[in-house]
């Protein structure tokens, strides 16, 4: 008998094991849901799968009477726009400041401790200031995402730049490169894949801030809808929205990884 740590499951067993927890979760849910519905058929806390399907149909495939739009897709569009914009701006800020900080000791001395402190402030606690400074429309939501994620990306980029082998920077200088040339020809291309990795890591936080911002003031968006229907406990709507958000988060993570693999083959050599 082999040690447990040496047992590699066969592909078929592996597939089965992968599905198992999902099946158990679904099964547990349906039992709990049926039990609750048997007690009170109008209970909304754990809706049946048909009720959920109904809600999906209503939100995603039926025109809203008042606006003529499909609520679900409208919410998705609004949220994706916000998170896309927010994370893009964060990435650009992170890239720029992180690169400069990592490369230039003088700048780093000034900015690095300040950014460390800033990154520790929980953005949720200073929401009122954000509203008043940035207003209540799209800008505020995007700003919350930026404030929540940019310091993390800056710090990550800075440490990534500092982890590049000193040898390369010296080599570039012996080839006659100026600071500017080192920045754009040696460092920038090398930290691009790391930027993507960093963005992937902060995506979770970005979704959190997006939902929080939409919960506080919005007219559409996935987070808005969840917190609005919470007013009448429509779990049949909340569940598909949560699953949808999870799917979107997964898709974004996945595509960022793929982009990185395609664009920066030299970065992923170790993963072979």
């Amino acid at each position: 008998m082999k040690r447990f740590m040496n047992i590699e499951p066969s592909p078929a067993l592996r597939a089965f094991l992968t599905l198992l927890p999902f099946i158990i979760a679904l099964f547990a849910y349906s039992i709990a849901s049926e039990a609750r519905l048997a007690e009170n058929p109008h209970d909304k806390l754990l809706p049946s799968f048909t009720q959920i399907a109904d809600a999906v149909d209503r939100y995603a495939f039926t025109e809203n009477k008042r606006t003529g739009e499909y609520l679900f897709w409208q919410d998705t569009g609004a949220s994706l726009y916000r998170i896309g914009l927010g994370i893009t701006i964060s990435a650009l800020i992170g890239l720029f400041i992180g690169l400069c900080n990592g490369l230039l000791p003088t700048l780093r001395a000034g900015l690095s401790p300040f950014i460390t402190i800033i990154s520790l402030i929980p953005p949720m606690a200073i929401l009122p200031i954000l509203f008043i400074t940035f207003g209540l429309d799209e800008l505020a939501k995007v700003m919350l995402i930026i404030i929540g994620t940019a310091p993390v990306i800056i710090r990550d980029m800075q440490s990534q730049v500092m982890q590049l082998p000193q040898e390369q920077l010296i080599k570039a200088q012996t080839l006659g490169a100026s600071t500017w040339q080192v920045a754009i020809r040696v460092i920038l291309p090398q930290i691009m894949p790391r930027l993507l990795a960093s963005v992937r890591l902060t995506l979770g936080a970005a979704w959190l801030f997006l939902i929080a911002a939409e919960a506080i003031a919005a007219q559409e968006g996935l987070g808005y809808r969840i917190f609005l229907v919470r007013r009448y406990m429509s779990m049949d709507v909340i569940f598909p929205y949560v699953i949808w958000i999870t799917t979107l988060a997964f898709a974004m993570d996945f595509s960022l990884r793929k982009i990185s693999e395609v664009c920066f083959p030299w970065y992923h050599q170790g993963a072979k």
Binding site: Q168, K171, T174, L175, R185, Q190, F264, W266
Partner: protein
Amino acid sequence: MSFLEIKNVWKSYGDAQILERLNLTVKQGEFVSMVGASGCGKSTFLNMLLGKEKQTKGEILLEGKPLVQEPDEERGIVFQRYSVFPHLTVLQNVMIADEFSNAKLLGFVFGKKKAEIKAKATEFIDAVGLTPALNKYPHELSGGMQQRLAIAQALMKKPKILLLDEPFGALDPGIRADMHVLIRDIWQKNNLTIFMVTHDIKEGFELGSRVWVFDKLRHDPQAPNAYGAQVTYDLDISSETNKSDSKMKIDELSTPSSNPIMQEEKA
């Protein structure tokens, strides 16, 4: 006026004295091998030649003028590792050397200029035997090929001095032999002045026209950092006669008991 003059150079980091009383002159075209125990300050010395570190005392003159205090085109370097840019292909790695000087603002060159640089780079790549790998990325190359690439890069700038810090330290013995052929060839063809740190005493003698042995002459067991290393042997092995004279030296240095390289083993 000698090509490179090192006048009473001392180097310390904080309390730790690393190097002391270095007085050396080097003529153009010499190949200086530097050996010594690990941590005795060979890389530190190379870094001073490179301009990355500043001597605490004394001065270093290149063609009569003090060394520029940061790395520049006059001095090429090849490290044991990480000397090439992983995000560029072989061709791009070599071309970038001339792109730096031709595109101060953009960092990239285009059109005719680019074709010129490409032609020049291809020549150097050919000289180190990397033509078949022109469009490969460094991670697709073996360790030896990466070091060839690093050398080609450095040569593009026609440096007055070429510094090598254990350039073959990470290579397999068989590949080392090939690299020795290459570097000797390049040294002679380009009339370069080369400084090479190595841990392999045989390699040092085989390649160098001169060998420096770094060691501490003074030692205070109470304060191991109080004294720095000096060049305890300065052997000229440029002529065949000198070479055979030095054979004995090699053997003497290679016996484990007196071998300075072995000192760090005596924990």
